[in-house]
């Protein structure tokens, strides 16, 4: 018994020493050999969601095109609209292995007080794609254009019930309010917004809500089958093909505002410079590949590539815009 304990002790000491030596050695070489070993790709939401789809597709394209040779396993770290992962990222400050994806909730969760961390606590590497908001009604709805809805709201602020899948003060809500604000509706706070977990499209189909504010990809099938009618989409240009390309923009209808559901790739805060320049270079190359273009087409994503520094400037701008809307509805924290 005694002997075994000594052997265990020696083994433990040996492993510990080896680890320390190895870690020290790899630290010196990391810059030159980056990326070496496994990377850690993380979706801050659940499997099958928008963030998950984006990062898995990115990892696949990077692998298929041979741009990144090391393995890029994807894991999920969901919770509190991505804020749980944002906190985890603070624990790997200054490291180079974690690659993650975020979209407008990164900014909204900070502004509405869910988390103390903001876009300043991550390292923007590249903005990759954009989805747009689409505002849909049931096929038999009296509303034909976005302006019909706005006129009704101006007459009676409670007359149109807006639904979305995210909670109050989050994306689906804000993307509608940006349009309402643009047409000069003042009492934004009084607009009834009803949050549905996942089933918003069933609710608008069944006529339980008047308008469903969502992302184009969520309701593509129902628009194509003409069960739902799209009043407008939030881009500054028409997107897609066929019936989707027939959806006019809010701007075309005289509402001078846009909303972009951008998605970009981020590293941990204070990511080392060699890793930042590595990824900026990789993504600049990736967006030009045929594989990436094909993946964008499959998923209906618009190209929205921006390099890291420009992306950071962009984040600062949208931060101010969202702040304005949230303060109008009294949710700025």
């Amino acid at each position: 018994m005694e002997k075994r304990r000594i052997v265990t002790l020696i083994a433990a000491v040996f492993i510990l020493t080896a680890t320390v030596v190895f870690a020290a050695g790899s630290g010196e070489n990391e810059e030159a050999q980056y990326p070496k070993g496994n990377l850690d790709f993380v979706a801050p939401g659940g499997a099958g969601g928008g963030w998950d789809l984006t990062i898995r597709t990115t990892a696949k394209v990077l692998k298929d095109t041979g741009l990144v040779k090391v393995s890029m396993p994807v894991r999920n770290n969901p919770g509190a609209g991505g804020s749980v992962h944002l906190t985890s990222l603070q624990e790997v400050k200054g490291t180079a292995r974690t690659i993650t994806v975020y979209s407008p909730p990164l900014i909204l969760t900070n502004l509405n007080g869910t988390t103390e961390y903001s876009y300043n606590d991550v390292t923007p590497l590249a903005r990759l794609i954009a989805d747009y908001a689409v505002y849909v009604v049931a096929a038999d709805s009296p509303y034909k254009t976005m302006n019909d809805v706005m006129t009704a709201l101006k007459k009676d602020i409670k007359s149109v019930k807006i639904g979305g899948n995210s909670s109050v003060g989050s994306m689906d809500h804000i993307q509608f309010l940006i349009m309402a604000k643009a047409v000069g509706i003042k009492n934004l706070k009084e607009i009834d917004y009803v949050s549905f977990d996942e089933s918003g499209s069933a609710q608008v189909l069944g006529g339980h809500i008047d308008l469903f504010s969502t992302g184009l990809s969520e309701v593509l099938g129902l628009i194509e089958s003409r069960d739902l009618r799209a009043l407008a989409q939030s881009s500054d240009h028409r997107v897609g093909e066929g019936i989707i390309a027939e959806i006019s923009t809010c701007q075309e209808q005289g509402i001078d505002a846009t909303f972009v559901n951008w998605r970009g790739i981020f590293g941990p805060p204070e990511m080392p410079e060699y890793a930042v320049s590595y990824w900026r270079d990789i993504f600049a190359k990736m967006v030009k590949t045929d594989e990436w273009k094909a993946a964008r087409k499959t998923n209906g994503w618009d190209d929205a590539y921006l390099d890291g520094p420009d992306f950071k400037t962009f984040l600062g701008e949208v931060n101010e815009e969202y702040k304005g809307v949230l303060s109008d509805i009294g949710m700025l924290n």
């Binding site: 969601g49 789809l53 994807v74 919770g79 749980v84 990809s217 593509l220 069960d227």
Partner: protein, 496 residues
Amino acid sequence: MESFELLLHGFTVALQPMNIMWVTVGGILGTIIGMLPGLGPATGVAVLLPLTFTMGPVAALITMGGVYYGAMYGGSRASILINTPGDGAAVAATFDGYPMTLKGKAESALAISAIASFIGGVFATIIMVFVSMPVARFAVKFGPAEYFMLFVFALAATASMTKGNRIKGFISMTLGLMIATIGIDAQSGVKRFTFNILELQSGIDFLVVIIAVYALGEVFKSFKNIAEGKKTIQTGFGKIWISMEEWKRCFWPILRSSPLGFFIGALPGAGGTMASLMAYNNEKQMSKTPEEFGEGAIEGVAAPEAANNAASVGAMIPMLTLGIPGSGTTAVMMGALLMLGLQPGPLLFQQQPTIIWGLIASMFIGNIILAVLNIPFAGIIVRVLAVPPRILYPIVLGLAFVGTFAISSSVMDFNLLIIFGIIGFVMSITNIPATPMILAVIVGSNMEQSFRRAYKISDADLSIFIASPICIVLIALTIISILFPIIKNIFEKIKK
């Protein structure tokens, strides 16, 4: 008869050797995942997600489908044998399954669970072949007010059927409703009872509570029993089958629970847990011997088992026909469809008949394969009862922690697991039933949110809750389910 032709075409797809292999692999994987606490069909399907890139769409969907209903077969194994459901949908199987095991009838319980699952799955698939579109169209008639009434009905039925002290049942339910209010309120954005803990903002996952109360609770209880020398192990095992008499008792419950489960499953947001609990309540109230329920009535295992399998089939309907994921599992499956470049929606059946009908046909094949595999498999798994408790329960404890971590990779959940495990143990020694709490945790948040949505939509006019025929029917059912036991008592007294 167009559906029939398309189905035959589907069979030519599903019967290809590779696809038979995929559905078997998916089914076995699902059965195993379903047995482990915390690992439900959603986790199983998520694990397969990266693989779908390399598989074709048909193979990917068939495998995922296999995992989904395979998990329904596997989920009840642990419920019956060691009183630890792996998933919400398997909770109802503990009510009578575990008492059957304690009476040495584990073999019958396992057999009827596989048989009922098989019938429920096949029955629901047949309905799906013919009426998936009408069912989906009907399901969207459920607005917030209708959902609220549905949840009230489910909760009332369970609260009124609890054994023993009603006040204690009520305390348990209230505790559950309180737990369900934790997190960010989606209708106002306000943080409730989160104590500045980030992880609590998305609320407490009901799976954590289930694992804690059942698995940890069972472990604590068994420590107590071992210390007092009460725990015995079973050494002799019979054949995994049921007697003719048992079959007769289960026949109608299975046939009634299958369509019920299918429909509840097809409602986005209701799901297998609700389906199995409602089926159980339903059978208890219709039974001539309701006092046997909870003491090891075999139909109390058959009904929820048929219902949850039927629900897993039903849940695919809103996902495939409308592109609306109705449950955690179908949400992941929909993600997979999108990755494969398929757009779920009303046109999917026309645009991709091979894929859709291949999937439906594979459900028939998958259910047959699973039923055939599960009977001999149960013969092996039942021997877990021969494992001495001092070996078995540490393993259960370990699995509980692993399963909890698998839910959302959160260390915070470990703390919750221990807290709720202790709460569950205290409840068990004070004879407060855990089931009303569990059910309240599962439906509480949905119930409250539905009420708030309806209230907002109607501009605070409560008449929305009686405005539709569906609401009125549900209210009537709720009243009946509360009064039924009382009326029956009165009648019996008059008879005497």
